[in-house]
Symmetry: D2
Subunit: 339 residues, 4 copies
């Protein structure tokens, strides 16, 4: 017999006993690292490209927030992506669809809308707009200043599972096939759900969870909600059909950290990306301090220990966040630890 | 052999062939009949009893709306009960709980509240308050006029299934164990759900679906909702944990019938009880005309063909309704027919 | 004001305070009573009617087991019905369907089959055959002695909910539209489920749970299963699509009581009907002794305290049973107590 | 402004427009390739290592079947792993647990068992044994020849999601804490499920789906099952608690391809690994012919077009297979195409 290790390699196999430790570690250690992107630093470049690069050339004009540990292919956490997109008045972005699920959380500007499966959904700062997997979507801007938003997608997950499909729409933009903002108006108030023609599904039918409603929620629960020791007064955007997360792979939340809030350290297998809606503070992630201010974005890898602190003794901080928790949970892989 | 029919009767049996037609009819024919109760006629008696009968004597001061076909035991439809309850300032109603599920839809008055498992829930006209099965509840009135509401319960169903339990609370009323109206404030806005300490269950955690939110919903969908041909712009109150009906045996809805609306005739196996929030109209049930005005209550038995019409060419009518559809559906017995 | 009690009665209402105690009792007290039917006493009359009454006259030749507390309409427990059916060689029973769910548990005879939605399902003693709601079914006997079985239906429940529909088939019997006994052969072995054309639903697709498999199960778990203190080694027949009960309103079980078994007293809101497959014993129900022998049937009302005892110190007893537990549980009304 | 592309790179971002095509392809193109491993070629090396390497040194003595497209880290398809494991009489394999789900499909030998959470499960050729995520397991061999089996795991998926945990048991092997093979004996027969102490969960409680039952299933459905045009008479091993796949990330199936069977080409987003239990044939995958014989293993990447053919005109072929379909489906990413 020739060298058996050589022989088995030629047969397309490898000895498990030489890989064991690498494949079965005591606990996960993500290649993703804790990282923070400063909005103030990125904004000038976004405006520069808004000027220098037409949407015809760019299809989407977005700065991808690339985790230093995840450059090839580029991603923000192992399963999730974040980018900052900008469009300017008069522009339209080509209609397309992909199996990757997406949302936008609006940062600044007024007068733009996205059209999702025929419904025009208008954007205002603080709004959460959904474009679930395989929904046609295009954007247009009829206002008078730049419009910037956070894009969240699960393409790192979808591509890692060999499940990514993509298709261009036959025309540049969709025609309106429903009254503007109808889905939001029909579903957002009072937990009331239209009872004619119900079409329950894994994706929320709501095009826009408007900031006005989120603000009312925070105002209504004022100071008498218990909240989470680690995450503050944290609310989950839900799918009216089943009460669960807005899409089967991405969960979205919004949290209010009270003045002086300092969270109990916690870690969980899902990864999380945060966007600072208001306020300033520090999140310590596996010992690394991420000092965040308004509109910044930061990434907390899966199983990294994080600890939020609101830097202000007098003002709230508000953090929007999204995670792959729905996916991790559906696969029976959710685990958390609170110190 | 003696007469075999006599013999088998003595053995506790009966010949199926002599009962077949009675037990297996081509379609259901409820003992319940279509019926309407006029609020204006009942109100003086409610006020009379509010004066003549103390809550200590009455435990609950309610006129039961008894369907002429269902007097023994009294019920409003085969599975559901409706009553009009009145309490006056300074009164309290003894705390108790029962496995029957209950709700109240507020008709008139201000200043009363119900305490449900320790949370005080305040009442305003048009509010829907839940007291799910086996939840402690008592009422108190600190306002300055009579308070009247519609009580809905499923005790006819629960008792028919030999599943009714009842218990008095150790004291007359519960102490407040949570901030007033907290559950409603936490869950009602923007489909946002508290993400700390989730306790999903078959009952909605919401103590009050306030009229203000319902009014906003109707206003938001204005005239551009398609609606149901039979039921108008009909919205279901939902359980945030699962998107389904508010309780596992009772579903609650609110419908706007546009000016001049005339519904397509429809029938379904569940039975329905309606309360007129606003407007006037006619519902024809198996050929019988029920002419309803504001605050009236009417019953549509299961599998009865009904047809709603708004009598006004210029004003909306608004109908609150509740049914046993969740129960009927869970048992695989839902069936409907639209003419 | 005339007598207000008289006045409100004329208005279709009743004072709740005069009904309270009747409608809200501390715990359920079924009208059904504990009762036992002796097979040996009934069998001669079944054979008599098999001779005296043709199936053309009878549609179904069944002795209904009528609970003395539930004679109008006749039922065996509040929600369930049991009957003993007999057919003789050469007979056919007219094809029909009804929304009531049904099953047959075969007592004696060979050579008959039922055809359910086009599939012929052959009967052997100990087999459990399903005819779920709204499935066409007819019976035929090609063997050479009388065939007797226990019929179980939920028509008391279905009729109480105003949900009973019935339809005769256009011909006397259905033609075979599938290979004989196919569903059982496809689904019964090894928890293996056909993966082409899956049609999951609330009803089990299995036409027959054959005794041969049940016997193998009892043999396989021999003496090393823990079992229930109250119910012995009790196994639930399941729906392959969801692992739950065979039909949404009826659950079927088979239990082995070891020699000398004496169960811990227990009560539950669902009612149960038992059929003795083998052995003899005593079940005490709310203090009343039901002494059962082979092939007898007995009824345990909901919330009645029962206690099983196998009378033999050397032989097993085997009890088939069915309950409305799936319905009661789906409605949130399940409750049990073990003493 | 310096070169804006350089500047944004320094800020941890990248221009999406330069990555678009790579991240959003028209359809998935797996890095995994169609590939076949011949058992006859591997077996001598397995026996060699059984001799040359002790289990104390190896922890597990397995040849990993490494897809040529997925060497770093090694995997068989994008989400799944296959290996061939060998143990010899007298050996034990160290007890451990991991969040990765695993199963073994027994190829040859007798006398070994695995202990899963305290239950000894004995192995016979054709048996499917489960070790769901985070279940303790160790192996021992008390027979008298080598024991070889196929190991299937989802560690490529679990590791890709940063969700892999691993733990050694405190001792080399677990003590028996339940009767041998109890779970299989309790759950495998007649769709009967123990009704005491139910503990429904996402993993099947069955330790072993024995070949004897699988053989009975194939025998019972004989030639009258319709089967799938693409996959033949294909049966899914199910979880008794919910009727679904055996574990939340891995589905297992067994298919009989009739003599002369030639399947309709099909592709699906999940990937599949096949093991040939019996017979010989050809599977064409994206145009590449994989000619398989008994005990071989082959991989079909996600979205690769496959077409099975049984090479024999007179004998059945039997293929065991496993896929990530439960995971892909739970995330809303399942898609298939039949030509």
């Amino acid at each position: 017999m020739t060298d058996p290790y050589e022989a088995i390699a030629r047969l397309g196999t490898a000895p498990l006993w030489r890989y064991y430790g690498n494949l079965f570690a005591a606990e996960p250690k993500s290649r993703a690292v804790p990282y923070l992107w400063r909005y103030a630093a990125l904004r000038p470049y976004l405006l520069h490209f808004a000027d220098a690069l037409s949407l015809e050339e760019a299809e989407r004009r977005v700065l991808m927030l690339v985790n230093p540990g995840l450059t090839e292919p580029p991603a923000t956490t192992t399963t999730l992506y974040a980018g900052i997109q900008v469009i300017v008045p008069g522009e339209t972005a080509q209609a397309h669809r992909h199996t990757a699920a997406a949302f936008r959380f609006i940062i600044e500007g007024r007068g733009a809308y996205t059209t999702v499966n025929g419904e025009r959904v208008h954007m205002h700062p603080g709004d959460l707009l959904l474009t679930p997997g395989w929904h046609w979507h295009d954007h247009a801007h009829e206002g008078d200043g730049p419009m910037l938003w956070l894009d969240g997608l699960d393409y790192p997950l979808v591509n890692a599972l060999d499940a990514g499909f993509f298709e261009l729409y036959g025309e540049r933009t969709q025609k309106a096939a429903a009254p503007d903002d109808l889905s939001s108006r029909q579903f957002i108030h009072g937990r009331l759900t239209p009872a004619w023609d119900p079409q329950p599904g894994p994706n929320s039918p709501i095009g826009n969870y408007p900031w006005t409603e989120t603000a009312r929620a925070f105002h209504a629960i004022a100071d008498d909600a218990v909240g989470s020791d680690s995450d503050g007064v944290v609310l989950e955007y839900t799918n009216p059909w089943n009460g669960g997360p807005v899409m089967p792979t991405i969960g979205c939340r919004i949290a209010r950290l009270r003045p002086g809030f300092r969270g109990t350290p916690r870690r969980q297998t899902p990864s999380t990306i945060y966007h600072v809606v208001r306020g300033a503070g520090v999140t310590t992630v596996d010992g690394q301090r991420l000092e965040w201010g308004e509109k910044d974005v930061f990434a907390v890898p899966g199983w990294a220990l994080y600890e939020h602190a609101n830097a202000s003794a007098s003002s709230d901080a508000v953090l929007f966040s999204y995670t792959d928790a729905p996916a991790i949970t559906a696969l029976g892989l959710y685990r958390e630890e609170i110190r």
